[in-house]
Symmetry: C2
Subunit: 294 residues, 2 copies
DNA sequence: CTAGCACGATACCCGCAAGGTATCGACTAC
DNA sequence: GTAGTCGATACCTTGCGGGTATCGTGCTAG
């Protein structure tokens, strides 16, 4: 299938007349017939009722509606690409680990969005994937939670989120505060299971630093799932404090006694990247961070 | 531009290597080079940094990101078109006049959406456009506010919304109830100005039925604008009661003494259209209407 | 009922551009 | 410097998109 097919079908669906559609497309009528036949064949679906008067089938109406919006979107993408290429606009690719979405990131994104000269590209990815994406140029900045050593990547700690324990509602340790020693007695739900290294390793090493070892009752790949399993009583888990915005009646959060039990939000970027968009973004981050503290 | 260009650029952006991308596309490397050059020429933008290692430019990253989602969307559209064509799914095109969105329509849409075997197509259009779209097969059912005589179209009144007066905050006629005679003393903001016949004619004929004539201080094309002008003190207007969900501190609504001053929500459909999706939709509407009354 | 016509499908030809092969040239790495 | 990697260029081939001519069919007017 080619865009030609979409464009031709578009014209045909609007005029419902092969001859006039062909005129509008500045081609003769027979080639149009052929292209439409090809399209129908490739889809394996009749898009038109060939009776008089010509009518779209149900599938045809659906395809018409959606291919139109696709073509419009493509037009906009091309436009914006030209603008970015001519320096009229800038583009900033942002990679983020899911858990960073509960903290300052939404605010940052909102502010960057309000900048008319800036187009944002957001992709959810692990810190490890961020490093790859940075090197490949797919993103310009990443927000993650773990340290990774790579000579081409520069990392900075943005904030230190205190960790809190997520416990099923009615758990005896609630409302806290609790100690790591107490928590180590409980079965854990840890995430993400892969790829490693991950936030899970950060949690494990935290306990190890206190000479503690925890039993992992269940591995999951996502925070949301982990929280669900905690609610179901499978175990407990540690989450960054910002995750507490997830209110659930079947979950309680408890502060930790150990103030140094934290999870960082880490900004990754290419070493030596001094593009204006990135600089602007970093300046905005600085500003937001100061606002938070002050 | 053709889909070929997008697909090729996609592969290239992912591998960042002409030779390997060409392999993946099952073509030789030189044609790939040419197609990419064409794409860049058409966009008038460099998408690649031709140094070693190969890198995407900022515009290239943007185009990569967005063309990927476009291609994915296209894939889904084709899939769903096939499903609809094979009868596995149904499609229902709905046209609606903007003001009907404040009433039962959202609830109906929500329920129809929850039906996995049904794809919805929503288009905002005037009642007049609905008639054309029904005949052309672009939609299967329309929700509007005015009667139109057309032998191919069947119309039924779904509900009769009482009309209420929209007045600027602090207006002496507030909080009502008010009579049409009182209102006829005030300048009016009426909408939509075109195309005619429209809801405005319904309002005019309502006053005419009581032997009253109103002065139209301002015509607008949209309800939102009209409300804004009312708030600005240009005049007053009559709106269906369901519009009152638009709370504004600078607008007050007053009931009318004349209970027969109503605006209908009118369902339009093709005469003799007995498709399962439409039947299902109409049954659901019936159900919702009963729930409203009971 | 039939002649006329409107309109889409079919048949067939032409030219162009997409794809292939061979090769060059530039940058990298040792 | 030299070998190797990889994209660009040159040139050929061919498949396919588009054109013209014509057919077939179903609506319509009388």
């Amino acid at each position: 299938m080619e865009l030609r097919h979409l464009r031709y079908f578009q014209a045909l669906a609007e005029t419902l007349n092969f001859t006039r559609a062909a005129e509008r497309l500045h081609i003769a009528q027979p080639p149009l017939s052929r292209q439409i036949q090809q399209l129908e064949e490739e889809l394996g679906v009749a898009l038109l009722d060939r009776g008089r008067p010509l009518r779209l089938t149900e599938a045809g109406r659906f395809f018409h509606e959606h291919s139109r919006t696709l073509l419009e979107q493509l037009g906009k993408v091309c436009d914006n690409t030209r603008r970015i290429g001519s320096g009229e606009k800038a583009w900033l690719g942002i990679g983020f680990a899911p858990s960073t979405l509960y903290g300052v990131l939404p605010d940052l994104i909102r502010r960057l969005r309000s900048d008319a000269g800036l187009e944002l590209g957001l992709s959810e990815m692990t810190t490890l994937q961020q490093v790859e994406a940075l090197k490949a140029g797919r993103i310009d900045v990443g927000f993650g939670r773990i340290h990774i050593n790579d000579p081409a990547i520069q990392q900075e700690v943005l904030t230190l989120d205190p960790l809190v324990a997520a416990l099923p509602a009615g758990h005896p340790l609630l409302p806290g505060p609790v100690s790591l020693t107490d928590l180590a007695q409980e079965p854990f739900v840890l995430y993400p299971g892969n790829p490693r290294p991950s936030y899970a390793d950060h949690v494990l090493s935290l306990f190890a630093a206190y000479g503690l070892q925890i039993e992992v009752a269940q591995w999951t790949n996502e925070l949301q799932t982990a929280i669900g399993l905690v609610a179901a009583g499978i175990g407990i888990t540690l989450v960054p404090a910002s995750v507490q915005v997830l209110h659930r009646v079947d979950i309680g959060y408890a502060k930790l006694q150990e103030a140094q039990a934290t999870s960082p939000i880490i900004i990754s970027r290419r070493v030596g990247d001094a593009s204006p968009a990135l600089t602007h973004c970093l300046a905005l981050i600085e500003e937001l961070a100061e606002g938070h503290i002050g």
